[in-house]
């Protein structure tokens, strides 16, 4: 680094931060400068190993780092100043905590002697971010900094991954101390995630799977977090056992959507076959998922007749929402490997022909049906067209939150993991655009598309400027129905169609807005023009805002009405006004 003194490990705190980033293989960080991080920015200026991407709002830095992390499997890094810089990071940190994304945030803090004095741009950053990080640290002594930074990377990336924050007062950044490279002893002895599953439990799981008549695999984001080996093993397990597989929103891509055992996504807007299979199964293997309330529907009616096996690296996920019969605490990849080994040695494929016949009947209900129109673009049709146009291309998809997100999950087929970046747990509108920035930074030559809504995209639209500055050719594919569609849908279904504040009044002209940013704006209103416009969008090697005008009042189906069980789904062909009203009449009271 800039330090050329006799001992190369003697350096300032600011230099240590940059050095630690390099030692952990970080090549790109996302950040925004300010008073309390100026020494770090000065170090960044004087080196070329770490590229800094300047965002337009700290929330953008956080989501960009998340997108970067999810598409690479490496930790994302964000750098922000004290006070508002840190508080603007609260949303991405919480988002990363809910979705188990490895994120390292370094925040500046006012000098140590001013802490607690209500100094300019001071806030209790570690206090504020304590509940939204896996762990956080305030470093008061420059000689602790190296250890804390290494520990931060270790904690963020091991066990159940998650966000961490290191708060560094400005005087600590200026002070000189001793740096050391990462070493084992940098980590709390109290932190030791369990990776290997219990052998007895694994045997129990295998014997349940082998003797099952109506089994199902329900996989989640944990499989993707575990790494490429886990995905490979999951696919092999499905192949070896012949068991049908469904997945959560977070787990899409672990098993290919074109695979013959694929049931589609499960849960509130999952397919009929996936939810019915979950409801009627006799053995359920849950891998790296957490029985979230969008998945289970009514808890006391969730898959009532099944023995449940649950693989999770986080013991607190076990028996949190649903009581399971065979809990296995460990890393998904590791445990799946052990299960496969035992299965291949001691068991044979369960005979589930009748079960597949039953599933075929559910599939025949065609629960993702929608009626195409020649006059107006249906949002489902737009996603399908986008999928067809990008099929076989090196594509990454991010989303915002709402109807468009669910349609993307339903109609875009993911073949590989790490290709799908969406805010699942926290449901953060405004996630997708900055996440696309992060993904494009990690994969400069790939096609990166943010499937967005007209309301969500406005929450972080300022990051278009970042995309233009760094020549990141992200495509923002806006399903513009001029509503906060999911809010409007719930108001229609549950609140007497009183559309309170869900109409997107005074929408900007997205084409002009794109041009104002120096990006490309495209608009399409007719179904006949859709494919051509998508082709044009893909061909442009610059950032694009694509204003796809879609049917305004389309609802997202199928749907488990609130307070109902998996086998009480509302299918699109039944969803006329009367049936919908009836389905939600009971649920309304319960939800």
């Amino acid at each position: 680094m800039s330090d050329k003194s006799h001992d190369s490990n003697q350096m300032t705190g600011a230099a240590m931060i940059v050095r630690a980033l390099i030692d952990h293989g970080v090549t790109d960080i996302f950040g925004y400068p300010g008073g309390a991080v100026l020494p770090i920015y000065d170090e960044i200026f004087q080196q070329s190993e770490v590229q800094h991407i300047l965002v337009r709002h700290e929330q953008g830095a956080g989501h960009a780092a998340e997108g970067y992390a999810r598409s690479t499997g490496k930790p994302g890094v964000a750098l922000v100043t004290s006070g508002p810089g840190a508080t603007n990071m609260v949303t991405p940190l919480t988002d990363a905590l809910m979705d188990s994304i490895p994120l390292v945030c370094i925040s500046g803090q006012v000098p140590t002697h001013l802490i607690g004095n209500d100094a300019f741009q001071e806030c209790d950053t570690v206090g504020i971010t304590r509940p939204c990080t896996k762990h956080n640290w305030l470093v008061r002594d420059v000689n602790d900094l190296a250890k804390v930074l290494h520990e931060a990377f270790y904690v963020a990336t091991t066990g159940r991954p998650g966000p961490v924050l290191v708060d560094v007062p400005k005087d600590v950044q200026f002070a000189t101390g001793t740096y050391h490279p990462p070493r084992k002893s940098d980590v709390h002895r109290s932190y030791a995630p369990r990776v290997k599953g219990d052998a007895t439990q694994i045997r129990k799981a295998v014997s349940l799977l082998a003797s099952a008549k109506r089994p199902v695999i329900y996989s989640g984001g944990g499989v993707i977090n575990s790494g490429p080996e886990a995905t490979k093993l999951l696919r092999e397990l499905v192949e070896v056992t012949g068991i049908p597989i469904t997945s959560t929103l977070m787990g899409l891509g672990a098993y290919p959507a074109s695979g013959k055992n694929w049931l589609g996504m499960l849960g509130m807007h999952g397919t009929y076959e996936a939810n019915m299979t979950m409801h009627d199964c006799d053995v359920m293997l849950c891998v790296g998922a957490r029985f979230d309330d969008r998945i289970t529907g009514r808890v006391d009616a969730f898959s009532p007749g099944s023995k449940k096996i649950h693989i999770d690296i986080d013991p607190s996920s076990i028996n949190k929402n649903i009581r399971v019969d065979v809990p296995i605490i460990g890393d998904c990849g590791n445990v799946l490997g052990d299960i496969l080994q035992v299965f291949k040695a001691e068991a044979k494929k369960p005979d589930i022909k009748a079960w597949w016949q039953q599933i075929a009947q559910w599939r025949a209900r065609n629960s993702l049906y929608y009626k195409k129109s020649n006059d107006v673009i249906l949002p489902q049709h737009a996603i399908q067209s986008l999928f067809e146009a990008t099929r076989g291309k090196d594509t990454y998809i991010t989303t915002e939150v709402g109807q468009h997100q669910m349609w993307a999950a339903q109609f875009y087929g993911f073949e590989e993991p790490h290709r799908w970046m969406t805010s699942g747990g926290l449901g953060t509108m405004g996630y997708g655009l900055p996440a696309a920035v992060g993904v494009q930074v990690a994969h400069p030559d790939s096609l990166v598309i943010d499937i967005a809504g007209d309301a969500s995209v406005q929450m972080t639209i300022q990051e278009m400027s970042t995309a233009v500055q760094y020549e990141l050719p992200i495509k923002i594919f806006i399903l513009n129905n001029q509503y906060m569609g999911m809010v409007r849908q719930w108001q229609q279904l549950l609140h007497g169609n009183r559309l309170s504040h869900s109409y997107s009044e005074a929408l900007p002209d997205f084409v002009k807005l794109a041009e104002a940013y120096g990006a490309v704006g495209l608009q399409v209103t007719k179904p006949a023009d859709l494919d051509g416009a998508i082709k044009e969008m893909i061909a442009v090697k610059r950032p694009v805002l694509f204003d796809c005008r879609v049917a305004a009042l389309e609802n997202c189906f199928p749907m488990i009405p609130s307070g109902k069980a998996h086998n009480e789904m509302l299918l699109p062909e039944q969803a006329n006004d009367e049936a919908t009203a009836k389905a939600f009449a009971g649920g309304k009271a319960l939800v």
Binding site: V126, G127, R130, P131, K134, H135, L138, V155, G159, R160, H188, R189, S190, Y191, D293, T296, G297, R298, V299, D300, D314, P315, S316, I318, N319, K320, R323, W490, L494, H495, S562, G563, K588, A589, L590, V591
Partner: protein, 180 residues
């Protein structure tokens, strides 16, 4: 039953609550107590009593004793949630092991004269409470015991001129030669 419409599945749970005493061994670092308390408030768990003190200074270890109530599923969650915190070494459910001793210390100030004053002294003697401060019209008693015993003593002092009480909260340790 008329519940409001919402995007969440609202259900009522009727499992009976249990009271458990948890011993938590933690790294004594800034903010560790805030983390533990924040977990309880953030996730809506109860704290009936909480005591904390450094127990092994060279190793920077502190011991937190928490008395909490919840359904068996919630108690299990609390233990897992505590255990996965980075600075937490170990969580032991002292109630589940059924081989633990619990003690609490209280200082009880009583003001009175005549027969009330004599009676409070007599009761203190019966409860093995010590007088640690006295004036002509008041006593401060020090009493050690389990929570029930202390509650009982305080109830008895109330009509005799109870002024105020200061309690340490519960500390617990396992019986026998083994440590936690």
């Amino acid at each position: 039953m008329n519940q409001p419409a919402s995007a969440y599945f609202i259900e009522e749970r009727h499992d009976p609550n249990e009271t458990h005493t948890l011993a938590v061994l933690v790294q004594n670092e800034p903010g560790v107590l805030a983390r533990v308390i924040g977990l309880f408030s953030g996730r809506g768990y109860n704290i009936e009593s909480l005591t904390v003190s450094e127990t092994e200074a060279q190793k920077h270890l502190s011991r937190i004793t928490i008395v909490t109530t919840g359904t068996p599923m919630v108690i299990a969650q609390i233990k897992h949630q505590l255990d996965r915190m980075v600075p937490v070494y170990q969580v032991v459910d002292m109630t589940q092991t059924r081989r633990s001793i619990e003690r609490e210390l209280a200082m009880v100030k009583v003001r009175g004269q005549g027969e009330h004053r004599v009676e409070s002294l007599r009761l203190a003697d019966a409860f093995r409470a010590r007088v640690i401060d006295a004036t002509t019209e008041s006593f401060v008693f020090e009493i050690t015991g389990n929570t029930d015993k202390i509650n009982q003593f305080i109830d008895l002092m109330r009509p005799l001129g109870l002024v105020e009480v200061s309690r340490t909260g519960v500390a617990a340790i396992g019986r026998g030669p083994e440590g936690m």
